[in-house]
Symmetry: C2
Subunit: 148 residues, 2 copies
DNA sequence: TTGCGTGCAAAGGTTTTGCATGGCA
DNA sequence: TGCCATGCAAAACCTTTGCACGCAA
């Protein structure tokens, strides 16, 4: 369709470069704005949103939505679409950490869904929510404390 | 904690009854508002939000978040907490339909994640996104058409 | 009678849009 | 030169909150 993504500007280059040098960062539009400013490159908020939209369309960046009303988080999806599109993501609801899980079991799941349920899972948009090990332990510790 | 959910009012009764008579509906707060008005029961928007919050807390209703900026969707979760908390949900990104998939394969998945990856999946908050069969076919048809 | 529930309006937050200017090609 | 990108401000959007009044218990 459109191999051309438009003009190459200072702002877009900065945003792309930020993601490339922080491939595991997942941050909101505002946080990205701040990070860029910290790097000495001031970019308007609207520009950040517009650039993120384009990057999402191109598949370069992925957008995660937690709960409505909160900011969406963006993360680098790799130059090649394979980096984060061939495995599932686990997001801890407590600490917010995003875990990348390339696992055969999960591949089987999507195959199963495709064959048995006629549903094509979009790895790029799907995030499994739950609680990671460190946080579960921490929660248990807290709940024991409060049992006075 | 609180077996008592407060007063029983005309508005709350109407909302609960709506969900009970439309157990598979998943709609936004605004849509619920409109549906109630159509039934002859006018309920203020804030009241709907407040009631939905309570129902979510109680586990009677679940809240789905699609993408940031869009409205959250609410759906009846049944009187017993088990109805929708023991299986996964598939949401079609094209038509928006929510599919309930109680499937052994998916149970295995969560067991696997718990044992192998120390991650506790929250069924209530996790939705797998993708494309359902009818929509995939429709998309294929469209893309063939545009190949002039 | 007490105090929660309601509804309106206003505030809060994130994201989008309009428009004049600036920069890429 | 032409056109897209930028950035500011304002708008749009969903949701929450403040406050006076009404209704359940």
């Amino acid at each position: 369709m459109s191999a051309e993504n438009g003009y190459r500007t200072r702002q877009r280059a900065a945003i792309l470069q930020y993601f490339q040098s922080h491939p595991h960062a997942h941050l909101t539009a505002e946080e990205l704005c701040d990070a860029l400013r910290a790097d000495g490159i001031s970019v308007g908020k609207s520009t950040v949103y517009r650039a993120l939209d384009k990057l999402c369309e191109a598949g370069t960046v992925r957008r995660f939505t937690m709960s409505a009303g909160e900011s969406a988080c963006y993360q680098y999806a790799g130059g090649t679409k394979e980096t984060c599109c061939t495995h599932f993501h686990l997001k801890c609801l407590v600490c917010g950490t995003l875990y990348h899980i390339p696992c055969e079991h999960l591949d089987e799941l999507s195959t199963h869904l495709g064959i048995q349920h006629n549903f094509t899972v979009d790895y790029a948009k799907t995030v499994l929510y739950g609680t990671c090990d460190p946080c579960r332990r921490a929660l248990l510790a807290v709940s024991k404390k409060s049992e006075t």
